[in-house]
């Protein structure tokens, strides 16, 4: 049965698969991860701030992102936002948002929402006395956060933090719905062209698995190194 398969197609399409597909996937992952971490941290701080309007807003945002299917938002953002944007600025033609930018914004926004919850737990895990000590030394809110609380919160959570990024890496395959050439889209296009669906999807699965498995392994190895001794 295997004789019906032609795995040679993988070899010939490697430059395309990795040169375009993997580069796209990795850039989207890295950019969304960085953006999501920064914005997510700010959302977490807003949620913990106790300032009435601000934390309601942050909570509402996180709840919204958790309550709608992600694929729907990717679609929605890509097809609807250009028209809404055009309406908002009074333009007759839809504003141009590139497919990559559109995907990046959507992923960053979602990553920020889920990371905000991790970060919130991370910040809350730092004893209250640390804040008191920093404030007693005359530190302002931002000095306390950036010098004392956040560095400890980040070091306490590499396992969760990095696992979240591995999930993000897998989730970027959802840009498939926008027909973008990520590492899911590239094999798919070759598969359709050459009629080699099984081979290409199998290969994509193996590569995703290998990368994620190795990354998870590294996360476990790193775990011990970062933890703060108390």
């Amino acid at each position: 049965m295997l004789s019906n398969f032609d795995f040679g197609v993988i070899l010939t399409s490697l430059p395309y698969l990795f040169g375009q597909g993997m580069v796209f996937t990795l850039s989207l992952t890295v950019m969304a991860a960085v953006g999501g971490t920064v914005i997510g941290t700010l959302i977490a701080l807003a949620r913990l701030s106790g300032i009435p309007g601000l934390w309601h807003l942050a909570k509402a945002y996180v709840e919204l992102c958790r309550s709608v299917p992600f694929v729907l938002v990717i679609f929605w953002f890509y097809f609807l936002v250009p028209y809404i944007g055009a309406y908002a600025i009074g333009s007759k033609t839809p504003i141009q948002v590139g497919a990559f930018s559109s995907a990046l914004i959507t992923f960053t926004a979602f990553e920020a929402a889920s990371f905000a919850e991790i970060m919130r737990a991370g910040i809350q895990s730092i004893p209250k006395g640390q804040t008191a000590a920093a404030q007693a030394l005359g530190m302002t809110y931002w000095q306390t956060m950036t010098s004392v609380i956040l560095p400890q919160a980040f070091r306490n959570m590499p396992p969760l933090l990095l696992t979240q990024k591995i999930i993000l890496f897998q989730d970027t395959s959802l840009v498939y719905v926008l027909s973008l050439t990520d590492f899911m889209g590239a094999p798919s296009k070759i598969a359709q062209r050459d009629g080699r669906l099984v081979e290409m999807y199998l290969f994509a699965a193996v590569v995703y698995f290998t990368i994620c498995f190795l990354a998870s392994f590294l996360v476990r190895r790193l775990q011990g190194r970062f933890a703060v001794i108390r």
């Binding site: 000590a133 030394l137 005359g138 000095q143 004392v148 001794i229 108390r230």
Partner: protein, 312 residues
């Protein structure tokens, strides 16, 4: 014990040099906030004026009033839950209070025009659980606030930090992390960290309560040194032997009220209130199971002997 004895003869930098901080022109003659009157010697450093505090419906502090003069060593004692820790945390507004006012070196704690971080930077505080920053080395613990809050250069901050680290006998540990030190050593670093900011007042919130018994002495030694150098100190502690030896005044609290506020001789000799008498007799009874106060030993700060903790 890894503590090296204090270099009694080679003292170049006094621990308490609130009077010796040339780079802090903002404090004197201007007070903690620019334009505020400076505290002259003998003047009131901390004025607690009728403060009350509630957690929801529960009143934790009731109309507390007292004063701490410059250079005075005041011990705050009382049974668990009497509000003594809460009171001391009100002094630098770590705990907000709803009624009354506290004035530190001429600066009102609850006031819109008060720059609270600046006020706190001049009020040193030492916590029960040390609260060193575990992700930073000892040196960084000593310098971070000097650099970020006082704007000192990394070099100046490090010099000041290491000077104080030497004064608490821990020079060898400069590059270690807090988790590598014993409780007593961590608390001495915490005292040095607070002193690095050139505070005008030092607050201690049960500084020895979380320590193993054999480490209590080394921390109290540092505090005695500090008192000798004229630092204004307000200390919440259960170490009554230490209070009896070192304190100028004792404030006894119970159920959120200041029940007794007396000179140490009067408080230990003839406490007026029944509640203070009960409190003291419990501690004195406790002595049957431990060493009596050895006043001869107490006169030697480096060999202070401590009463066992009162049972709770």
């Amino acid at each position: 014990m890894t503590a090296t004895p204090m270099p009694e003869t080679a003292v170049t930098t006094p621990i308490a040099d609130a009077d010796h901080a040339p780079e802090d022109a903002g404090l004197r003659p201007g007070g903690l906030v620019y334009g505020a009157p400076a505290a002259a010697p003998g003047e009131t450093m901390i004025a607690i004026d009728g403060i009350s505090k509630w957690y929801g419906d529960f009143q934790v502090l009731t109309n507390c009033t007292t004063k701490v003069a410059k250079g005075e060593f005041v011990v705050v004692c009382g049974p668990s839950g009497s509000g003594k820790s809460t009171l001391i945390k009100c002094v630098n507004a770590l705990e907000p209070f709803q009624k009354g006012q506290i004035t530190v070196a001429g600066t009102k704690v609850i006031d819109k025009s008060t720059n609270l971080p600046k006020l706190r930077s001049r009020v040193g505080m030492v916590f029960q659980h040390f609260e060193l920053f575990p992700h930073l080395s000892i040196t960084d613990n000593l310098t971070i606030a000097q650099r970020k809050v006082l704007g000192r250069s990394a070099e100046d901050a490090k010099k000041r930090g290491l000077d104080l680290l030497a004064r608490v006998g821990l020079s060898a540990h400069a590059d270690k992390f807090p988790g590598q030190l014993s409780g007593g050593q961590q608390q001495r670093v915490a005292i040095a960290r607070a002193l690095a900011m050139n505070p005008v007042v030092m607050l201690f919130d049960e500084p020895t309560s979380a320590l193993d018994p054999e480490m209590v002495g080394e921390v109290l030694d540092v505090m005695v040194e500090l008192a000798k150098e004229g630092m204004t100190m307000m200390v919440v502690t259960h170490e009554m032997g230490f209070a009896r030896k070192v304190a100028d005044r004792v404030i006894f609290m119970d159920r959120g009220e200041i029940v007794e506020d007396a000179r140490k001789e009067d408080f230990f000799g003839s406490p007026r209130s029944e509640r203070a008498q009960t409190f003291l007799s419990k501690i004195l009874q406790h002595r049957r199971y431990g060493d009596p106060i050895d006043t001869a030993a107490l006169s030697q700060p480096s060999r202070i002997r401590i009463l066992p903790m009162p049972s709770r």
